[in-house]
């Protein structure tokens, strides 16, 4: 009796959720691989909104690239969306370098900026550059080629490798010019740390102290001072930029020849010139260099500055001396 009463309300209960499945089981669809237990392609009710109602009929905002172009099937059938033109690839942006490492990473993306950077002369392109940085009058990490024009002061030692002179301090003033190229930057149209160039320089340095007698058997008593050392140099520069940042550091390795006087010998002689430098963008650089000639070696360190900056300083110095009555 009790069971009978309990079964009565069940007759008025809503149908179970798997009622359609039960109907499907009643008429099994025979296939090659047996009966299908679950419909792999359930039919969607076109009147049922997956987004939850009429107010959210429009596609939900999705800021990821490309996803907004793909409309759901129920919307696409109503009105096909016009094909958008393919997006133009950005030429400037993040480029993952092949030599990925601590020194070659580009400038990190950051929301923090110096307010003054928006007003800098080099905010959009390298300072004093033409053709979008293909040539720069001041070196920059993104330049395809650059002018070298700087002046420097240096101090070191003049080492006389024979016994016909004395090792004494050496100071010099130098001007330098040349051209730097970034071959892979120009060829592949992307950033690359390597650069190569040719430079020439002229320097005026303090003279040597040498013996008046060439006889090595004589004692080094009667010594004299030579004229100031004037040297010409022509050299090849290999350059490695340490980052893609504007005004980044770079290493310059220079190897070439030097033409200079040697002690008190008549004539000029060729020797070897070598230099290693750390540059600060194109505006300055610290260097250690050497001129290696027969019996006469000069090793010196110093700092150079681009001619745009050092030129006015030199002009002011010369103006003060000349206007002050100094005969240079």
């Amino acid at each position: 009796m009790l069971a009978h009463l309990l079964s009565l309300p069940l007759l008025f209960a809503p149908p179970a959720e798997d009622a359609p499945r039960a109907e499907a089981e009643a008429e099994p669809e025979a296939g090659e691989f047996g009966e299908l237990e679950v419909d792999p392609n359930p039919r969607s009710d076109p009147s049922e909104s997956a987004s939850g109602g009429y107010g959210t009929l429009a596609p939900l905002p999705n800021y990821s690239d490309g996803s907004s172009d793909e409309q759901p099937a129920e919307f696409g059938e109503l009105e096909p969306t016009p094909d958008k033109p393919p997006r133009k690839q950005q030429e400037v942006g993040f480029e993952e370098p092949e030599d990925f490492g601590p020194f070659f990473e580009p400038e990190p993306a950051s929301e923090l900026k110096f307010p003054g950077d928006a007003h800098r002369p080099d905010r959009n392109k390298p300072f004093a550059s033409v053709a979008g940085g293909m040539f720069c009058f001041v070196e920059d990490s993104v330049c395809g080629s650059a002018l070298i024009a700087d002046a420097d002061v240096g101090v070191g030692v003049n080492m006389i490798t024979s016994d016909r002179g004395l090792d004494v301090p050496y100071t010099q003033f130098r001007v330098r010019g040349g051209l730097m190229l970034r071959p892979l930057r120009l060829a592949k149209k992307r950033w690359h740390p390597w650069g190569v160039g040719v430079v020439a320089s002229w320097s005026l340095g303090s003279g040597s102290i040498t013996a008046t007698s060439r006889d090595p058997t004589e004692a080094l008593i009667d010594v004299t001072e030579t004229d100031p050392i004037r040297s010409w140099r022509v050299a090849l520069v290999n350059q490695i930029w340490l980052s893609q940042k504007r005004n980044a550091l770079h290493l310059d390795f220079t190897l070439g020849g030097v033409n200079s006087s040697v002690l008190d010998a008549s004539g000029r002689y060729w020797g070897t010139h070598a230099e290693a430098a750390l540059g600060f963008g194109g505006w300055g650089g610290l260097y250690i260099a050497g001129d290696f000639l027969d019996s006469d070696t000069r090793v010196f360190i110093g700092m150079r500055g681009h001619g745009i900056a050092t030129g006015p300083l030199i002009a002011l110095i010369v103006l003060g001396l000349v206007a002050g009555g100094v005969a240079l």
């Binding site: 076109p46 009147s47 429009a58 009105e79 110096f114 101090v155 050496y170 003033f173 300055g284």
Partner: protein
Amino acid sequence: MTTAWLLALVLGFGPPSLDEAEAPAPAPAVPAEVEAQPTPEPEPEPESEQPTSLSKASAAELEAARQPPAPELESSGPPWYTEDDIDRLRARYDIRPDPRVEPRKPKWRCLIPDPVCGFGVELTATTAYAYRFRQGDISVEGAYFDWSSARIAYDLWVNFPAHTQTIGAYKFTRLTLGPKVAMVASDNQDLWGNFGIALRYWFGVKKWSPALEFSSALSFKLIGERAGMTAPQRSPVGITADIGVSVGGWGAIIVGGQYDTPLAREELPEKFRVSAGGQVFVGFRGNILWGAPAAAAVGTHIAIQRRLPDQP
């Protein structure tokens, strides 16, 4: 038993499941007691007249529903959150409110040092009174020379931001460090070169904020006068340093000194030796772009070459 029967009966007349309903409009979850109270009839909202499914929507309604968001999505860009959103987010995590600073323009497009600038290149001219001294012949007791002179220096500073302060969405330079190279002149047609490091600490980020400047460098003589002739001079490596207070990067009052290392090896003849010397100085160093520091330096240089007698 009676209770179980009644429970089963209630379940039998329960509402049908949502699967069978034809997309009913969402009913407000209002208790029955509240619903039974006589409440004023709410005005029908515009949304209530809209169809509840796509099949009942007209083509014009579909078009109106789809089109408006698209242009906003195309034209909108970062930031994706409004300022109010950011304020609520910062308040939620107990972060002080965004100051939303509107920074000023830099002075002379960052050619004059400014806290709103990062990397910078700077040319300065120094005009200073210098008390110079030099050791005399060491074989003579008390051989010592000192005289009043002037120091003229032209510096190139390459400033890198070494420490910054973040205010809002901007960062401001508080400390710059970088290499410097300079040429220094004085009487006797003396000319030194030096290179070293320069430091500037800003006490604020405003246009006229003061700053502490310190520079030190290796110093060496380049040119001097000998027997009435101006010629390159050799020199051991000395040192120079100065400290000063700047106003807005335009100029600074500095105090410093320089020491010229002697070259006094015994095997060198006396005429090739270099005596120990130096100077202490106090003066003004300013950026040459606004003219006055450069004019003062050149004028002083000319004056000391013409007026000061040659020193021993």
